[in-house]
Symmetry: C2
Subunit: 136 residues, 2 copies
Amino acid sequence: MNADYLKKLKQDHFKITPKRRAILDLFDREDKCLTPETIWEHLKKTFKQSGLPGIYRNLELFVKQGILIRIDREGRKRYYALCHDHSGHHHHHIVCVECGRVDDFPVCHFPDIKSTKGYKILSHSMQINGICKSCQ
Amino acid sequence: MNADYLKKLKQDHFKITPKRRAILDLFDREDKCLTPETIWEHLKKTFKQSGLPGIYRNLELFVKQGILIRIDREGRKRYYALCHDHSGHHHHHIVCVECGRVDDFPVCHFPDIKSTKGYKILSHSMQINGICKSCQ
DNA sequence: CTATAAATAGAAATAATTTCTGTTTATCCT
DNA sequence: AGGATAAACAGAAATTATTTCTATTTATAG
């Protein structure tokens, strides 16, 4: 359920609009990473002319809110996926290179070094590419 | 020195053109990640009208050859950086969010699990963001 | 129920990247 | 060294992802 996401938005005084509901519902249903355009294709059915710019705006909002994450894939399109774990625990994501399914991936043995090669480390992100059960 | 890179290209029957030399020299000199456009700006000085399309083509070739890597940064531009370690050892890269300097980062405690959550793991990439010595 | 700030639609602009065509050039071979 | 050949080049033009802008609509707080 995406009730969590809606709660999150509400807490931060963002409005729960039909479009936002629809985008989050879509992610719940599709269960994989999506491009802005794909999302738009789906929403067009329900919202006659929903407009790509609105999709972009909302996607970036969701990323800022920690509801979605951006996924890198081949090609020059942007992909987004639901981030299921909102516990605040550090985790990463594993992406199926075939179908685009994305799951949380809790394991990370990143060393507890605060500084390496003279760098002060701010953050790190890891993307794991694989093939999911149903694509194998 | 970038003699290594040239040797690598030669081995795979790619031609050593002045432009390719110039691009690799530039990466050596700048010692940070660059966008295709920045590279073009530099090359214009030497090669009157060198052409962006050629830059793109060469950058992607260098990535395929393992000479350059792609770096993710804010904004919608593509960044490339030299991959200094050609030993074949598994490593990652650390990027200065201020100046774009990139260094190899050998530490990676990725678990030796071949399959997780039903996924067959193919590869993983980690990007570490930090602030380099001279930007601190 | 109303006021208001935020979100929307839609058009239009921007800018990154790719494709294409004809010309030039590095390299291999003799 | 010189010629043949496949690869790389320049340049223009097309494509397409993303952003910006303006006027209108809508969700929410009071």
